[in-house]
Symmetry: C2
Subunit: 166 residues, 2 copies
């Protein structure tokens, strides 16, 4: 779906940092794949995270379901996440999370196994994705290790500390 | 701090939807305050949420601390939130959450009571804010009622349902 490049970059980086394996995009500026490639190179984990361009979102969603995966569509019109049995979702092996800009086709609502709202209020698909991932992984995604990083942050109570490798 | 307008709008809307009372900005396009005013008018809660333009971020932070409030700076260089005693923070009455674009002045790291990382990996200040608010409010921010809404979503498993008032 057509979206703002800056926002799309945030979506891609959030997906990478918070435990997703892959991002599918229907339209994408090459600057986004480039930014993510650079982040992978510097901050690691490149082999475990990729971006794929798809022509037809509908084929992707349908094939995902045929393969036994579940589809979660994040939308302000859905059932609030606090009212969703997220423990059921945690038992799934493969989840495709769909987020869209303003105009998501009606078909998406029908194809989704779950239409989930991160509040029934307008805010941000970046924020919705982040909270969904944090809730579903229960914060465990913070423990994921990023292999082959050239840079690594040493957490500090004050200031910045970064160590370089190779 | 100077930032992208689209991202700033997301930050403002996330703050509104997820339980903040006020957003302070040092530089802002009037389109952002206008967008938020329109969202308040349509989706409610205007009286409980405002945006304030401040000239000096440093004065704001120092005065906040003088008034007994705590300052949390979200930065990828800080201590990861999983390693932060967030229960201590929940006991505070007033918390100022600071997020910045790429270049945050060193002084901010020194002035903050807490420099907290929502992962020590680059991603998105919108996502960091969202997860921080969700963690600190334990999802209770979803129960906040938005007064005087003209539109209200009726959560649906499929499709969109919005009711209008007045």
């Amino acid at each position: 779906m057509v979206r703002d490049d800056r926002i799309t970059t945030h979506v891609a980086l959030v997906s990478r940092a918070l435990g997703c394996e892959e991002v599918f995009m229907t339209e994408v500026d090459t600057s986004i794949t480039q930014t993510v490639a650079e982040v992978n190179k510097r901050w690691g984990g490149g082999s475990g995270f990729k971006i794929e361009i798809v022509r037809e979102w509908k084929n992707l969603v349908e094939n995902w379901k045929k393969g036994g995966g579940k589809v979660v569509h994040l939308t302000m019109y859905g059932i609030e996440i606090n009212d969703t049995k997220i423990s059921h979702l945690r038992q799934e092996n493969r989840i495709l999370v769909v987020i869209g800009a303003a105009k998501v086709p009606r078909q998406m609502y029908d194809l989704a196994d779950y239409n989930i709202a991160i509040r029934n209020q307008p805010h941000s698909e970046v924020a919705a994705l982040a909270i969904f991932l944090d809730r579903i992984f229960k914060g465990k995604q913070f423990e994921k290790h990023f292999n082959d990083a050239k840079l690594k942050i040493i957490p500090m109570t004050r200031g910045k500390k970064v160590v370089g490798f190779g």
